[in-house]
Structure formats: structure tokens, C-alpha cells
Point group: D2
């Protein structure tokens, strides 16, 4: 389970882009982590979630906040290849670290996406300085709200126990805003 209040599982990553070396979640302990799961052909990711992640990366100190993109391909696997992703990152000028989620074995769903029980893309997971999940959401989130949540987590040195669950309810497939698992 990867709900609010639980320990964030380590990531399973095939390849890192926009960074010099591989990262682990463990290596970021002590910082707030904003994990943004996306697919390069998800319209809602392209129009809203990725620009928002880029703004957060540009705005906050990287000593306080790490923004990590996670490419969680669960459809059109032969279109959203690592090669295609690199071209996408180049054209959209994304500069924050991006991890390619490890494909599942007999499963269309990649490993980290499954371990976090994500429901589709875009998904946003906020992890506090202690490695505890503080938000686990699917779909669009307002900038004012996100800014407040990030600042609150940055200002907090010890974890607290509260929890909010705000996953959006949608049918499977893509809308303008999200792509959902079946």
C-alpha cells in the first residue's frame, strides 16, 4: 500500500535523464520530494502537470525540494520509448530529473507505478523529509494549493500523522486532463 501516511517505497528505475548519476529515494531523505508521474503522450500531463512541475523546480531551493518526473508508461509502449522521451524532454525544455519506470514482467503496468498504486497519469506524490507520503493524488491540482502544501512540508522538520486522500474518480482511458488505468 502507498497511501498517505505510509512510508514511500523505493523507486524501480531503468534509466535517469536530466541528471549526471542515478538517484534513489533514500538518497533524498531530509528533503521534500515531489514525484510527478506522467506519460509523454498524456494530454493533461503536457498541458498542465509538466509545466507545473517545471515551475516548482524553478521556484524552490533544491536543498529543500527535489522534483522528480517518473515516466510510467502503461499504454502505447512502442510509441513512448526512451528515445522518444529524450526527444520530448528536449523539445519541451524540461530540466528537472526524470526517471523511466521499470516495465513490468507480464504486466502492462510498470513497477513503481504499481508499488505506489497509482491510478493513471498525471499523478502527484508528495513525500516529506522523513520519507512519508503526505499527498497521493491523481489529476489536476491547483497551483495555489500545491504551493501551500510544498511550503508546509518544507517548513516541517518532523512528520505528523494527518492524511488527506484526494484521488480523482475517472473512467479508464484518456480525457483532456488525465489518462487512467482500466
Amino acid at each position: 500500500m502507498s497511501n498517505n501516511g505510509s512510508i514511500a517505497p523505493e523507486w524501480s528505475v531503468d534509466q535517469w535523464l536530466n541528471t549526471q548519476g542515478p538517484y534513489s529515494l533514500a538518497s533524498m531523505r531530509g528533503k521534500v520530494v515531489m514525484l510527478h508521474a506522467f506519460q509523454m503522450l498524456c494530454p493533461g500531463c503536457v498541458s498542465h502537470a509538466l509545466p507545473q512541475a517545471q515551475r516548482a523546480w524553478d521556484m524552490f531551493s533544491h536543498d529543500d525540494l527535489m522534483v522528480v518526473g517518473l515516466h510510467t508508461v502503461f499504454e502505447h509502449h512502442d510509441a513512448m520509448t526512451p528515445t522518444a522521451l529524450k526527444a520530448f524532454i528536449h523539445e519541451y525544455r524540461l530540466s528537472f530529473p526524470i526517471a523511466i519506470d521499470t516495465p513490468g514482467n507480464n504486466d502492462y503496468q510498470p513497477i513503481t507505478m504499481r508499488d505506489y498504486t497509482m491510478r493513471g497519469t498525471p499523478s502527484l506524490v508528495l513525500i516529506d523529509r522523513d520519507g512519508i507520503i503526505r499527498r497521493h493524488g491523481f489529476g489536476r491540482i491547483d497551483d495555489l494549493m500545491l504551493g501551500a502544501e510544498l511550503a508546509t512540508l518544507i517548513a516541517t522538520r518532523k512528520s505528523s500523522g494527518e492524511s488527506t486522500e484526494d484521488d480523482k474518480q475517472v473512467a479508464s482511458g484518456c480525457t483532456d486532463e488525465v489518462c487512467a488505468l482500466d
Copy 2:
């Protein structure tokens, strides 16, 4: 002087709208106060700043944050009357408390606007729980940044001394984003 780090002066208000009784800044001590100065015929206020103030009012607990609109008419006085302002508030469905700044005597600039040395509209002043000015800005502010600043002030119990000055430099008159004093 009303710069960052200084004590926020008390407001001079002719009339309160959207509230049952008159407020004072002193009565809000202990809460964070977001003072949003605007004119009803300022295009940048209508398109960006007022919707942002409404979102902040809707999003945060009023025990933590008071949002106050301040109608600081420094031009077109005979157009932006209290009667016109009431119609404007009704049509734009603004629900946070709004104060009408007291007109100046021999001056086209109203009293509170002058006491806070505001440069035009929209202006945003963030006042911490101790009554100290923590942001004093003119022009547009990003939602992600504002959310972070509000949450930081809300999370802070005692004032600190830091200061940032981010007033936008513009010529007098109105642009799409701001109306500036001469």
C-alpha cells in the same frame, strides 16, 4: 514607511462590504492577513488579482488567514463610487470582506494607500501573525509562489527579520496588468 519588516499601519476605512461589522487590522492580530488593494476598473485586478484573492479566501481557513480587499481609488473617482463597487462585487461574485479606502483631503490618493506607500493596483501586502509586513508587492504574483508564502506565514508563530522587495517597475497609467500612480 511601510516596507517589509515594518509594522503594518492601521487601515483608514470609510465603509465595509461583505461583512456584518467593521474590521480593524488590530482585531486580526494573530492571523495572517492578505491585503489586496484594487480598483474595480483596473483590468489586471479584474482578470488576475481578484480571482486569485477569491481563491485564497476559499482555500484557507479563516482562522489562519484573513483576505481583505481594499478599494483604493486614485483615478476616475466619479466612476468608481461605492454604489458602482457594490454592483461590481455582486456581478463578479466576490465574497471576501472589502474595505473602501478613505479618500484623501487635498489629494487624489486615498489615505491607506498613501500610508502603505502603494504604487498602484493591484498591490498585495502580506502581514504576519505579529502584524509585520512580510510582502509588499505591486503587479502580478504567481499562484504557486503565493500559496507557498501564505503557507509559510501560516506555519510561522513568531516573526523573523528577513525581507524581500519585489515591487514591479512600471510607468504611470494602466497596462493590462497594473494601474500605476504618477
Copy 3:
């Protein structure tokens, strides 16, 4: 009646702004006329319809197309005065001719608005070179569609009989997009 296909009634105007002398509909015979009815405190007029009218005014030759704003105040009469309108026009930098509709006698609805059986603001009436109403619509209209309709009317030298009615169905009062009569 002022439906599509009928002769456009002459306007009843108290005052003209943004022009040197008074206009009449009759004096524009031979040109296409885009009559845009609005109220200065109607949110949908401010955010969409007035910028669209300004773009049309800027884009087309005034020998082919006359854009005329019609201030049809049917609510908040003491707020949307001629003085207030002049300030509004100044701040929003509107440059096309604007007519103030003549107030009704025992009626809250102004004369031209009533003669055209408009349902609220924004309303858009397109009148062809022969003085025949070719569109009579209430609410938002897409730019691509409007561009096509204007060009079609401009390209047409003689009237044809077709007619389309696209009035939006709404309850009375203001929404983000329109203000409707009771």
C-alpha cells in the same frame, strides 16, 4: 420582431463615444455591421466579448465592416452611468464606436435592446450590407466561426434568405459568460 432575416431596426442612442459625430444604422448601409451589446459590469463581456469586438475592429477594413458597441444597461443603472462607462472605455483601451442605449420610460430595459428583443449581455447582431439581420445571438461565439461569418457577409453583395438562430438558453442573472434578463 428582430429575428434573422428581418430588417434591423434603427438604433435609439443617447450618446456616442469614441466617435466625432453621431452615427445611425441607416448611415452605415452598404457596410456589414457588427453590433455588440454589452454592459460594463458583465463579466462575460469584459473577458471575452469586448476583446473579440476590438479584434474584429482592428482586423477588418472599416469600409467593409463597422463594429459598434451598444451599452444596454438593464441592471445596476446607478453604477453603469455614462461617466463610469467613459472611465471603463479608457482603462480597457476600447477604440471602436460605442453607443449608449436610450433608457426605457417605465421600464428597466433600454429602447434598442427591447426593439431588438435581446435576451441579455453579451449579445451579438450581424447586419448585412442591405440592413438585414443575419445573426442574432446571445452568449459566447467562437472566433473561428465569427471570422467566417464576417467574411461571408463582407463577400456578399446581395442579401439571401437563410436564417440561423443560436440564442443560448440561460436563466436570468449573471454567470461568468452572460447576464440575462428575467
Copy 4:
């Protein structure tokens, strides 16, 4: 040369999508043709030009106007494959006919793109009922203007000689709005 006023060259197409059979420009003679050249990883195409092409396809009669997308890959060839394009079309719900431009031999630029001397993506070519190029533009075009131009061409039975050239001047590479050839 493929300037305004010249005959539109026939297209060189490897594969057609969103249609049952192959098209040719010759087969569309008698209709207005809106040829929209794009790349699936071009940000300006995704945010503005493709939604505009879809709106035009939805709005006008296909007896009068054919909208054709042309996938002119001149960079990241291994990312923007036919397989990737099909996934892209599916996720973005594009329904107008789309042609894949034939790759050049010793050249990174595809054949039709070269024959039309396009400068990058998005490019928009409007071809009249006689097969004559009436607009040849690079970059963003306003909806109101495009609607007017389409309606004017639709209303015109014989070609006229006028010509406008509105190519945008940009450096090579991608901006938010365009991707340009070196």
C-alpha cells in the same frame, strides 16, 4: 517554388491515417484545402495549431473545406515514428485525415515539406478551389483571421491574383510556438 499565387505541388505521402483510402491533392480540386504541417513533438503544434485544425474540421462542411494534417518530421526521426504518431493521434483525439510526408533520401527534410519550401512547424497552407496557394504561413495564426480567410476562399469560385506573405522570422530550433529548420 511554392509561394502564394503559384500552383500547389502534389503531395508525396508514405501513409494516410484517419482515412479509408489514400488521397491526392488533385482529387480535392474544387474544394478549399487547409494543409496543416506539424510534428507530434512540436509544442506550438500541440498547444495551438492542431486544436485549431480540429476546430476547422469540425466547423466547416467537408464539401467545401478539406483539412489535411501533414506530419513533416525534420528532427528526432527515431522518436516521431508512424507508430508513435498513431498513439499521438489516438490520445489527442484528432479526427481529420493525416498524411505522413515521405522522408528525403540523403536529406533530413521530407519531400513535401521541401517541395513547399516550408520553414518549420507549424506551417499552414491554404489552397483555393483551383489548386492555387493563397496563404503560406509559418507560426501561429489568429482564429478570427483564419475563419475569415477560409470563408473568403470558400465563397470564391475563381482564383484571384493577390498574394500575402506572412512567414514568421525565427531562429532554428523549437520555441513554445514553432520548430524551425536550420
